[in-house]
Symmetry: C2
Subunit: 344 residues, 2 copies
């Protein structure tokens, strides 16, 4: 039986400040009337904004945290600041069981180590990874990871990412046996690095996992809808993710230029407005906001720093879905299955 989601939100994270974060929280409450939130941050600032959102006010409590983490400085400084920061206190609530998940728009450079130091990794996981859902032409989004948490990876990391990503697809997308691909520069068995080929071998032989391993996938096929999970090291993943963003913007900018190139096409554009709005909706990163740090002993969702209130609401929705569907437990049990298989 699903427990109604109760989440901690870092109300201070995000480039746009408290008022934007709370507006996002209010939208999330509108979308899911079962949801309750803990708003973590400066008591006074939150209390000043909250009356603007009566429904949110009725379904939330404030937990005071005076500090903020900027993401500058060395790791030691960041971890020291974490204890009293809105980010750290929100994640601490997941650890103590007072919230099922934490959402923050704070800096990734801080969020990853703070999450890891408070929640620790799931037993059997060497390194957590950042995963996100990307739109495809298929029936569902694709889970892609790692998107930048691990610049360099070993084969065992990629295998763990596949297990975690598949658990995400099962919990977040409701898929029974997700189709998993390894991002590579070709689909032939001999392509790529030793690390990738080794990971492919390990995944091909892990028959008892709830994973349909489909081999290699090229950058050209990320959004085709042929895969539910795409696994890569954090360097390639970050390059691919940002290249997708950049190219989508490039194409829409070209389109805008083309549409304003003549009076005739301006007229056509005006008529086609509903169609181009549909495209805009599909490509708006706010409709895909919410990266998840997989591999931690608890759910931490990263909202983009520049997310709008719609984007923040989307990230809260992601956290809520994963909490309700018990993702952490799924990852743990899949890891037990793979390590049982790995032992001779």
């Amino acid at each position: 039986m699903a427990v109604p989601p109760h989440l901690a939100v870092d109300a201070m994270g995000g480039d746009e400040g408290v008022s934007n974060m709370l507006a996002g929280c209010a939208l999330a409450i509108d979308a899911n009337p079962e949801l309750t939130l803990v708003l973590v941050g400066d008591q006074e600032m939150i209390a000043a904004e909250l009356p603007k959102h009566p429904k949110l006010q009725a379904r939330s409590e404030i937990v005071h945290a005076a500090g903020m983490i900027g993401g500058e400085g060395n790791l030691k400084d960041i971890l020291r600041q974490a204890k009293t920061s809105s980010m750290g206190v929100a994640i601490e609530m997941v650890k103590s069981g007072r919230a099922q998940a934490a959402v923050s728009g704070g800096n990734t450079r801080a969020l990853m180590p703070v999450g890891k130091s408070i929640l620790k990794t799931i037993p059997g996981i060497d390194r957590p990874a950042l995963a996100a859902l990307l739109p495809t032409l298929g029936d569902n989004d694709v889970v892609m990871l790692d998107l930048g948490a691990n610049t360099e990876c070993q084969a065992r990391n990629l295998v763990e990412f596949a297990v975690m990503g598949a658990a995400y697809a099962r919990a977040g997308l409701g898929l029974g046996r997700p189709r998993v691909g390894l991002l590579n520069i070709g689909t032939e068995a001999e392509k790529g690095t030793d690390v990738i080929r080794d990971a492919a071998l390990q995944l091909s032989s892990a028959k008892n996992l709830p994973i349909d391993f489909k081999g290699f996938v090229e950058g050209s096929h990320i959004q085709r809808g042929d895969f539910d999970v795409i696994v890569c090291d954090g360097f390639s993943g970050n390059i691919a993710l940002k290249t997708i963003e950049g190219t989508a913007r490039f194409v829409t900018d070209l389109l805008k230029r083309a549409f304003t190139s003549s009076i005739r096409s301006k007229f056509g554009y005006a008529i086609s407005r509903p169609a181009t709005e549909l495209l805009k909706h599909h490509l708006d990163p706010n409709n895909h906001n919410g990266g998840v740090f997989l591999g931690l002993n608890g759910i931490v969702v990263k909202s983009h720093g520049s997310a709008t209130e719609k984007g923040i609401a989307h990230a809260i929705g992601v956290a809520s879905r994963l909490a309700t569907n018990d993702m952490i437990h799924r990852i743990s049990s899949d890891l037990v299955a793979i390590s049982a298989k790995a032992k001779p």
Copy 2:
């Protein structure tokens, strides 16, 4: 004074066969009346097609080569087949000075080692790289390399790629001091791998090169027009290139869906046709066909296997421009400058 371009074309390479290759050659001749071509391949097959293109017939000669290289088998097999193949014979003509550049639509897996074994690398170059021009929102295309020839790279390889890519931008785009960026997962100095940071340090200190080194560039900024040359290892480059292709197709497919979603938007689409045709033209890979193997002692241009005749003509145009502007000599002299600088 520029010598009129005289190029060798592998008439057998390419998925669509001789008739498509010759149609492309004919288009290239139309576009550049100074151009003369050597058509390398099966004498009989070429002679049967050539009368369809009287202008091409008047400005070309046939050189017979019976064999073809498929790209399968090990490196030894490929190099053995090269001697009598249309690809190998075309490249051999560059070596002997009978042509200024070779163009082939054959398999990259064969083209790179065959080019390297026949032409050898420019002194000072450790590894050749595959470069291509990508469209941007700026005034000119951007040269991106490596796109897949070198899966793993050291810092010195990336520095060489920067030098070669800049020479390409100077010869191919007519830029005096190209703006060079290193592809990375962030623009801050501490981002990325040791290899990338080391390459950045070396490029920052090479002040005597005709390069304006601008630091790191993210995947989101490849097509913004802020860089003339983007340097990366062959793995990331291939991922980025294919992700660009895939995303452009994804967005245009979404657009098509959006435009056919209602009668009103179908009507708008019909009116905006000139605008969407303009977009199609910009995104058509045939208008950007022609990868260049930089670092060889001679110009070898790779046409995409599935290029249309327009694409083939574009690749021949690239080869012709680089030959006329003496790219190989520019790379060599820039390398002399950088190695003089590197010595204490």
